[in-house]
Symmetry: C2
Subunit: 376 residues, 2 copies
Amino acid sequence: MELDERKSKILKAIIQNYQETGEPVGSRTISKYSDLSLSSATIRNEMSDLEEMGLIVQPHTSAGRVPTDLAYRMYVDQLMKEDREKENEKAELSVPDQKSDFLIKRMDRMELMLEQVARIVADKTNYAAMVSSPRINQTKLKFIQLSRVDEYKLLMVLVVEGNIIRNKIFDIHEDLRDQDILSLNLLLNSNLNGLTMDEINLGVITHLTEQAGVHKDIVNRVLEEVAKAIRPDHSVEVYTSGATNIFKYPELSDNETASEILDTFEEKKQLAKALSDGLKADGHQGIRVYIGDETPVDSMKDCSIVTATYELSDGLKGTIGIVGPKRMDYPKVMKTLETLMQQLNAIFPKVPELEKKEPDAEGDVNIVEPAEDEKE
Amino acid sequence: MELDERKSKILKAIIQNYQETGEPVGSRTISKYSDLSLSSATIRNEMSDLEEMGLIVQPHTSAGRVPTDLAYRMYVDQLMKEDREKENEKAELSVPDQKSDFLIKRMDRMELMLEQVARIVADKTNYAAMVSSPRINQTKLKFIQLSRVDEYKLLMVLVVEGNIIRNKIFDIHEDLRDQDILSLNLLLNSNLNGLTMDEINLGVITHLTEQAGVHKDIVNRVLEEVAKAIRPDHSVEVYTSGATNIFKYPELSDNETASEILDTFEEKKQLAKALSDGLKADGHQGIRVYIGDETPVDSMKDCSIVTATYELSDGLKGTIGIVGPKRMDYPKVMKTLETLMQQLNAIFPKVPELEKKEPDAEGDVNIVEPAEDEKE
DNA sequence: ATTAGCACTCGTTCTTTTTGAGTGCTAACA
DNA sequence: TGTTAGCACTCAAAAAGAACGAGTGCTAAT
């Protein structure tokens, strides 16, 4: 059977109506709701066809129709598109940044900012939001330094490309003069700086340990940490917000389902997996839509997930995702994500290296500066 | 009216039965359940008295009785105590530590460890758990260092007592020779190390800025960060786990209530407030119980909260809390928290300063070392 | 003081009835 | 040939009613 113009319109009307009400939608409703003026009887005939095509089903005889996953897929891939040009109701969500910070107090850490982004998206859309911290793909070591903290403790500071900082405190049991520390620093910096994971090969390592002499175990421990710091797929944090929004959708808020979904949100590992999925293949403009069974997470078979990939200046890529009922407002969600991406890109311009900062009097914040102690 | 021996027993029986079943408990049940062999009629008379005393109520005529908040209060304060000596079913929960780390992979950060503690407690009790990171009361600055990262960026590393590390990257717009950095470091360390918040007074500050000469704005920015790092009541993280456990208790799992509670768990600020409450006045062994309306959080009027204060070696104090229905198993929960405290204390012994670490070959972990970049 | 007995209450559960939204089909119409 | 009015039919959900039974309070006997 053919999905002609009229059938499309009817299907779209059904989807949109169902999106709003959450109730199965009947022929009479469409007859009035849509602009094509047809009697309910005609609509019924068309609906019958649509059902045969597997695009809608009725929960029981004498109920209205509900779109199937297939219909949503079709909606997202085709039907929706046509409207999207017109629809220009400026999605005015404000990403917290340094300049217009009326929404946010201080955003001096990436972590806070991602949390805020999640919150804003969740508030704006009324769905649940999740954001994965960017993961680094191939990072250069930029700076390394050892310093003595007290008699038995050595502090190591690593800075990698993107100004991500990593600290580690070592206990030392051996004698170590300040002079030794100095030369170790020199040794490490001159040999390691600017190198990527791959470039630190056995040659470099043996050279280092040889040079280190008696302190070679310190060098080894340093190398271990370096490896951790620049390892490509080092684990990813996930920030979430608005998980309880699912209670706004009856089809998700029976205890069984809700509990499972919320569990997943608490146990962020699975979310991380779902989000990193989107990183691999960039669909249309980096936005991907998973409908029902397509979702990579078991507990969300009754949901849809929309993800988008963001990229910060240093090539740090992360994903932001929205979880809602299958009847979610796809156009709105996708629009939201799109403008969000644009804004993020505007804030973090893709200047290859050494982007010059405009010197603004006070507290000009380092955008990528996640490393701090765990407080505040 | 007098709460005699028998009434106590009956009340206790009611509470315990209700704790298990969640259903109003009737006279017949008690007549059989409790060891005092009395007919249901007698129990009924006593119950009538208990109701008059405000210790139990019936949801409606012809229903069993349910304990009031007052009854729980009495139970926690008195009734329960008697049994607690006998009850020695060793609460075997294993705090993740370095030695017995079968439960945990790597605990090289406080953050991870607190998360794990929350998880374990939640799993063990079947209630929701929350843990606040320790807050520092009066901290000394231990170490400070500036280093150049690249032409326009200066990295500052602070270490404060307890080996908490804080990083900050400054943009610099002025000329700064390596020699200048060295002397700045010298200047800062010799003047600030070992000082607490209070001791860094105007005298010290003016002396510093004077000495700094042209670089006095750098010093100012450093001081600003120092202030943040050692500020006494710097904000507190809260780790939670098992929030969805509330679905196990029907009285909490209608959508309205559940949604509110879960919201509170997502919005951790309120939890932080509730937890910090316990820090102030140490009740019996640091364990406090809030029943129903006593809870400091509005959305948890239908819950009870049990909190305990833990203290790590460096005088870092935090709170761990358990949220459950008012009919929670108080003895079990309190027991759990008690043994947990003991274990934490065992792992972090209260040696005043410079606790000697047993040198174990590899990766001897710094217990208090929260500061790292946001990954892993 | 305790208890057996009994009438009474009232939420829960099960069954029945009613309602109405929605369908499919047919026959008439343009 | 496509559209529509009309009508019988279905079935979930809502409303109404009946039966149940857990639990109570009271009284009278022990």
